[in-house]
Amino acid sequence: MREIVTIQVGQCGNQIGRSFWSRALHEHAANSTYAEFTDDGGDRTGAVFSESMSTFFRNVDMTTKGEMAPGSEIRDLKARACLIDMEDGVLSETMRGPLKDLFTSAQVMSDVSGAGNNWAHGFYEYGGQYGDQFLELVRSQAEPCDSLQSFFLMHSLGGGTGSGLGTKLLELLKDNYDGIYRFATSVLPSSSGEGDDVITSPYNSVLALNQLTEHADAVLPIDNARLSQLSTRISKGAGSGGGGGDHAAGNASAAVKGKKKKSARKRSEGGAGGGFDEMNNVVARLLTDLTASMRFAGDLNTDLNEITTNLVPFPRMHYLCPSLAPMGPTTHHAHRSNGMNSSVLVKSLFRDCFSPESSLISLGEGCNIRNSSVLACGVFVRGKGIPISDVNSNVARLQSELRMPRWNREGFKIGLCDVNGLDHQSSIMSLCNSEIINSVFEPLTERFYKLYRRKANVHHYTQFCDGGIFDEAIGNLEDLIEEYKGAGMRGSGGGVEGGLPPRGDELIWDVNESGGAGAGAGGKRREVAF
């Protein structure tokens, strides 16, 4: 009914894509339904291609090549995806790997030479060369959709292909599919520069951000350094049990159909290694959680386009910083049935989610969500039987604790989904449109200037474009930083008003204090008559 076409560009984008698709498959496999089908002369039970599956997948009858509507039996699942890379390696791995049945070769667009970690090469050279082919590819994916809702771009900003070609494609989408939202999941290079082996990554990132600010409807920024920290923590916590890593195993459509084949090629990603797997898995979880509420039933369904409407108060300020809780695969959250009462559980989920540990971007020294101004915030809860009143009371508490601007005191969007994710019985994801994004932008600006002052490597870029783009891009980013700083003050009267003065990063909520949560919501509010 409401489809999303995924566009994965570059090495990073395609690796994330792989994790994402295997996770999406497993999630639907865990929630699949069966029915009797009578055709081919016999009755048999088959897995149903459900409405919720149709968001990400197509069901194709390979003999007639026809699309099958939701409600039909699963024949051949195909991902609604465009796989794009200017190198061959990762893509051919995907096409040989356990997910190969999910894609046809017509969904792949590749070259052999790569973009040489050069944004301009990707944006101008490949963008010009492959633009038409790309639009044709998108058309082939968009046409079978009943009501295409958005494009999901997965890419990284540090390199050349994902960053350059990725943002070019975004621009093409904007020109050709106006009104269909463009979500970008953008992996930024580590802000300190540590562990970043691409010298030109500050250039590429700033130039790509310039495009993202203009052409995306929403960007979920993720920080590479933060991801690797998190994945280390997760794999330590997971012990030998293994986190989501082995989701990649198993024949894709077989898993959904319920007959698990023993094609146990774990860690088939070859050289990628466990760490990368885990990192990609975190991003994959973010994306599945983000779309859970539109795919599955829940008390408060949230569509992707609602997220944009609610969390983007000003068109350029569409950077939504994600957090996930719980982060490790086995925490006490997983065992809610063991006597944990729902309000305590929800409270602890909220506490974890709004602590700096859960953020998917690196926060600067002393910077945290509680002492930065928050323009708007989305909270998306997954899990069976989580009462809306518990969520509301926690949101009410946050509203008084965070520094919300005067014009957006109630700036919370809530989504509730009944179907839990793969790793946890209940989990929560938040997207914060907040000044904290500056703790990614500001160090990036510094790193950019370190290179740009010496005009280092600029000549590689000017082969493809005018050098003025550098000044334009950094100017745009600096403006954005200022806008984020001043956004809380907009409107007459001005002034950021929160309930409480910032409290530093100490934890404010005591999980063990139970029962009181309900009163928080009703107590403070003024009463209104029917």
Binding site: E306, N392, R409, G491, G522, F530
Partner: protein, 499 residues
């Protein structure tokens, strides 16, 4: 005369099925009268059919709602059409009367829902037309939607406008809207609510506003549900709305002639005598947990009418917020409409102690044969209980003679330009499990508190936050300003009522 229900969006559809199921649910004899005899013979008590105003009966006797379901996604509508437990459903929707608009959703954006393409509106109005054609004349339509999201609010307003264009000259439009929690769900809800209210001011004939916040408080404080879910809220709101709009009669004579039931358009004409004042609010007593119902004995005067009066006086919608010290009406009302239901004609076991009923019943069921000694309750027929139980019941318990003069002028402060400000209608058919219940529909300045929330939208607007999203769908700065002006005028008018 039939009334068409149009339910729009997730909230509208959930609410609609809740209201209709309340309307269709058979009255339960007051619990205290559930003696073993009546339990065993309950099948023989004729159950009144659901109000024909809202349902039509098929030849096989199934009740089909006169309703059209509209949404941008199939999930909720699907649930309405095919309930999880079809045997428990007391009515059904016509499968043809649903309209799923696959325009990708309204994205919580009023402007996006309101500016739905012509084709969407046409196809919905076709469904409406085909339902209208099933009866000779439909003098009123009941449109249900939220005012927080985009589908319900925007599309709901667009359909109200369309209906007004096409049928406005011969039918009245009653909108029931749910106003959002002050916290959350949707950030741009204040914008959506302001645009909704202003648009309904132009195209609707009467707007009943129900606040989610209040319903939630009622669930917590009165129904003692610790963590009320969406279902609980809808159930409560469904009951309150149904208590007002369900069949009720001005007197016993008209009760005996069922064609005289109060109709939606009658209610509207009474409630909105002047099109400058369209905002209504709703109160209902009692609200209590199911388990307490059978332990409750109230008289009509002190238990129902007096409480409603005091709630009206204080401007509160919940019993628990009543301030009994207030002795004068603060604000002025334009009109009031009171509905009393109950005393289903079954004698009560007046002699027994309240707490003993269950025990007693259990014991009796065990020693089955002793039932012969009990008075046999007369069937729940259309004859009033008066004669049968006159001796047992105190005179005040008869719904047809309850004194409601506290709501008449001058006991209640009304504006001087309305000649007929108060109407009471009754029915002795019990409302669900309640032995006695009263609902009050008010058009008064108590809507001001709700209108004040528009200020939140203005603050947002001053910062021009989110305006770009609305501009993309044709609601720009000018349209916002016009809407604010419209609401400011409404507010000023209501504020001046009591001056």
């Amino acid at each position: 005369m039939p009334t068409l229900t149009i339910q729009v969006g997730q909230c509208g559809n959930q609410l609609g099925s809740s209201i209709l199921s309340s309307l269709a649910s058979p009255s339960v004899p007051s619990p205290s009268s559930l003696t073993p005899t009546s339990l065993s013979s309950s099948a023989s008590i004729p159950v009144p059919p659901p109000p024909s105003q809202f349902f039509r009966q098929t030849q096989r006797g199934t009740n089909v709602a006169r309703a059209v379901l509209v949404d941008t996604e199939p999930k909720v509508v699907e649930r309405c059409l095919n309930p999880l437990d079809p045997s428990a459903a007391n009515f059904r929707y016509s499968q043809n009367n649903s309209c799923i608009i696959g325009a990708g959703g309204a994205a919580n954006n009023w402007a996006r829902g309101y500016s739905s393409p012509e084709s969407v509106l046409t196809s919905t109005m076709e469904k409406v037309q085909s339902e209208l054609e099933k009866s000779d004349y439909t003098p009123a339509v009941h449109i249900l939607h939220s005012c927080a999201g985009g589908t319900g609010s925007g599309l709901g307003c667009a359909l109200t406008r369309e209906y007004n264009d096409e049928h406005g000259s011969k039918a009245l439009i009653f909108n029931t809207i749910i106003t959002p929690f002050e916290t959350g769900e949707v950030i741009v809800q204040d914008y959506n609510a302001a645009l909704t209210l202003s648009s309904l001011n132009d195209f609707s004939d009467g707007v009943l506003c129900i606040e989610n916040e209040v319903a939630s408080r009622a669930c917590k404080k009165l129904l003692k549900i610790e963590h009320p879910g969406v279902k609980d809220l809808n159930g409560l709101i469904g009951d309150s709305v149904a208590s007002i709009i369900g069949d009720s009669y001005t007197d016993l004579q008209s009760f005996n002639n069922a064609a005289n039931a109060m109709q939606m358009d009658d209610i509207l004409r009474h409630m909105v005598p002047n099109s400058y004042y369209k905002m209504m609010s709703l109160r209902m007593v009692p609200m209590m947990p199911e388990r307490s119902v059978e332990f409750t004995r109230d008289t009509w005067e002190s238990g129902v009418v007096k409480r409603l009066k005091q709630m009206h006086r204080c401007g509160t919608s919940l019993e628990c917020d009543i301030n009994w010290r207030k002795e004068e009406d603060v604000g002025a009302s334009i009109s009031n409409f009171l509905v009393l239901r109950g005393d289903g004609g079954l004698p009560r076991m007046g002699d027994e102690k309240r707490t003993g009923i269950l025990d007693l019943e259990r014991r009796r069921r065990a020693t089955d044969n002793s039932t012969a000694a009990l008075p046999t309750p007369p069937p729940n027929s259309k004859t009033p209980p008066k004669a049968a139980s006159a001796k047992k019941l105190p005179p005040t318990s008869d719904v047809w003679s309850v004194d409601c003069s506290s709501f008449s002028s001058p006991n209640t402060n009304y504006v001087d330009w309305n000649n007929d400000p108060f109407k009471v209608t009754r029915s002795h058919v019990n409302f669900k499990r309640y032995e006695k219940m009263g609902g009050l529909l008010t058009n008064s300045d108590s809507c001001l508190k709700l209108l004040e929330r528009v200020d939140n939208a203005k603050v947002k607007f001053d910062a021009r936050a989110y305006v770009h999203q609305y501009e993309a769908y044709g609601v720009g700065v000018d349209e916002f300003e016009a809407a604010f002006l419209n609401l400011d005028e409404t507010r000023a008018r209501y504020r001046n009522l009591s001056k």
